[in-house]
Amino acid sequence: MSLSAAEAAPPTRNYLNAETTLRSWLLTTDHKRIGVMYLVMILISLFVGGMFALLLRFELLTPGPTYIDAITYNRFFTLHGIIMVWFFLIPSIPSVFGNFFLPIMLGARDVAFPRLNLASVYIYVIGAAFTLGAMIHGGADTGWTFYTPYSSTTATTVTPVLLGIFILGFSTILTGINFIVTVHTMRGPGQTWMRLPLFVWAIYGTSIIQVLATPVLGLTLLLLFVEHAFNFGLFDPARGGDPLLFQHLFWFYSHPAVYIMILPGMGVISETVSCFARKNILSYKAVAYSSLGIAFVGFFTWGHHMFVSGQSNFDSGAFGVLSMFVAIFTSIKVFTWVGTMYGGAITFKTPFAYICGFLFFLVFGGMTGIAVATISLDVHWHDTYFVVAHFHFIMVGAALMAFLAGLHYWFPKMFGRSYPEGWGLVAASLIILGFNATFIPQFLLGNMGMPRRYYNYPEKFQTLHVASSAGATLLFFGFLIIFIYLVLALKYGQPAGDNPWGSRGFEWNTSSPPLPHNFEKAPVFDREPHDYTTPVLEVSHAS
């Protein structure tokens, strides 16, 4: 079904064409418009962060200096980290799909605090402006982890970057509080906790982490700013400070932060697996409670980032064991997703291609994560490319693919048009292939002992680096194709019906694109989400 000049979508009133002045967009309190604005902003961040990734990979083609010098390389990998972590991955699924679909799935007209929701958008913009300013001014060269005492003594502009992320932290906290209160107080009639879609459970778990972890990041950046500016000596050993205290405070936020990135992705996959396998999720309670499990136990494991940093053996042992418990929640989810396909009626669409990619990369990436948390192996692997490959498997392989699965699954609902299926599968295979080519060599580089953040490297690592850089370009083209056909589909895509996939998710009860206030009359929830035991009312003409 190629891109044909489709006839104009029937001009029914929806949230997009209800009012089209710029002011109506900039001052909107409609959660759907805020979701679309976030979508635009995080796609820009993905593009900018991706460009830095490519620049890094090209520099690493040859051992010596290739085309940039060491300090620029250090700035590039710092900015790649900061932009991808804070400006793309953390807001991506909660702020876009969470904002758009949480109220609809609950049968509510909007989130609990609509004005707060708009405030978090503008706080994101201000935070991005500060970091952009730092980027132009040269940006920090400390890596996104800002380890002291290097970060507090380096002469590069660390302060505006810290301020940018500090402000961005508030945007995440506000979104988290908004979603928690929405789930607690605005569930529709008949919508008990056990009838919540699994996406809502995942967003609820993520919001708990956002609310409980981000303040500690705020404080850590504040202390680092004070240390950098006035040299109070809190982390400076020459004045009696303890650099490990900074690492404890930083990782107390940053490990739960990686669950902020992956948990919403798991929510999207729970929804899409049920829809494309046309079958109810295998064990609803197990998946729902494991979302909360990840949210809570995720806070007990931050010490596995500090096994070789001088942390005591007792703490290393304790954190190693606790890290294993957080892993079983992920394995419950994976077995349940694969089990859901048993006895289903599966169609192979683009989102399903991303689901397969997601499953393989989450299992492989997750298991290498457990391997790295096995304390004696981490001594060799810490701060080498093995760790880089592990967290890219989770962040790009799992979280980004879940984001793409969600984007393709909900694109008809958000914009009323459907994307070209053929191009979707081409891009998906390109991305999965490019991803493997980029990061499998990095596992082997890590085993060989190639440390992280190296501008030039000994000769023996070059072949693997060239392979990885080639994979990165392949990955880039995959994303480019997606970007192109999605933008074109906005205008030229086939008008999609209210339920093109024949999905029994609650969000498909509204028209697509939805009305400004989601429903004429509030829906009554009388069944479990994704219950495919009765034939679907509207035959999906898409398949």
């Binding site: 694969v338 393989f360 219950d531």
Partner: protein, 349 residues
């Protein structure tokens, strides 16, 4: 089998006593990972083929797995993971607890080089000589930021904290040269901060040590960068001071903070200086060296540009020595936990 797997996984040679033991757990974990992820992939593929959608209005039964299936989903992975972490922590304790008969070596990490010194003998930069088949304990410290001593061939890594000591140990098996990397990001030349562990036969090492102690060996291996306490000739700070006297720097620059013709050198290092005609600069090594060679380029506000240029009169190392001397001039706050000299810490067994 071990050699085959090591080669397949691109692991460096197992040159220390514990490397093989660590690698065995590595093989077990990585093989289970590969088996698990391909199993999940293939099951998904099989389910897709077996349960593909046959008609657009096909419905599916509401399946609810028995509780023992869910319990299995939890118990089996948890069993594997806890077995790994038990074995992992056991190996980790071996990796981090040095045997009581190990020989001490102090490792001093400095921005972008490694310096090694033996308790009662020579010290050197960039080359660590150790005897084979004898445990060696490393007491790591750093002079500026966090570095990390990483020897892939021995499977050891430990951060070097500034002003503090951390310990790790290894026992090399056979003589050879093994590269050392810095694994914790420490600035611009983090990737050039390489060193080498040279493992010698025990008797060869002992004779080398004796010669070193007597200092008879004409050419010390690697560039001789002595500890701070050795004689003036080899101490950059003292050397810098004498050069400053010889070139008459003290006619204009004071060292106790009192104002004079030129800016005072006390606490000058990393101070933000306001320049004549606007703008500020941080007085780091580059600025100081540049000011020696071309003083009129960036004159500090409030001082008149009278400083003569030393281009051609001051050689590179001499300028670096004067910079080291300026860097050492820090106003001693009343109480300061200075980074202590290497100290002997009895090995807990």
């Amino acid at each position: 089998m071990n050699e085959f797997l090591r080669r397949v996984l691109f692991l460096p040679e197992q040159a220390s006593s514990l490397a093989r033991q660590v690698d065995q757990l590595h093989y077990f974990v990585i093989i289970t990972t590969l088996v698990m992820s391909t199993a999940v992939g293939l099951t998904a593929l099989f389910f897709f083929v077996r349960f593909r959608r046959r008609s657009a209005t096909q419905t599916t039964r509401h399946l609810q797995p028995p509780v023992w299936v869910e319990a299995l989903f939890i118990a089996v992975p948890l069993g594997f993971f806890l077995a790994w972490v038990y074995r992992g922590y056991h190996d980790f304790l071996l990796l981090t607890t040095p045997p009581s008969n190990s020989m001490d070596v102090y490792v001093m990490a400095k921005q972008w080089m490694w310096k090694f010194s033996y308790p009662d003998g020579p010290n050197s930069a960039g080359v660590l000589r150790v005897p084979a088949n004898r445990p060696v304990r490393l007491l790591l410290t750093s002079r500026d930021v966090i570095h990390s001593f990483f020897v892939p061939a021995f499977r050891i890594k430990r951060d070097a904290l500034p002003g503090r000591y951390t310990e790790t140990w290894f026992e090399a098996l056979e003589p050879g040269h093994y590269p050392v990397y810095c694994a914790e990001f420490c600035g611009t030349n983090h990737s050039n901060m390489l060193a080498e562990v040279v493992v010698m036969r025990p008797e060869e090492f002992d004779s080398w040590l004796v010669e070193q102690r007597r200092g008879r060996v004409a050419q010390q291996d690697g560039s001789q960068t002595p500890d701070e306490d050795l004689s003036a000739l080899t101490n950059p700070v003292r050397q810098g001071e004498q050069l400053a006297v010889r070139y008459g720097c003290f006619k204009c620059h004071t060292v106790d903070g009192s104002p004079h013709i030129g800016p005072t050198w006390l606490d000058l290092y990393l101070r933000r200086e306001a320049l004549e005609g606007g703008g500020t600069v941080i007085a780091d090594e580059t600025y100081m060296t540049e000011s020696m060679m071309d003083p009129l380029a960036k004159v500090v506000r409030g001082f008149n540009p009278v400083m003569p240029s030393f281009k051609g009169r001051l050689s590179g190392p001499e300028a670096a020595a004067i910079v080291e001397f300026i860097k050492s001039l820090r106003s001693e706050p009343l109480e300061q936990a200075r980074s202590r000299r290497p100290v002997y810490e009895p090995i807990r067994r």
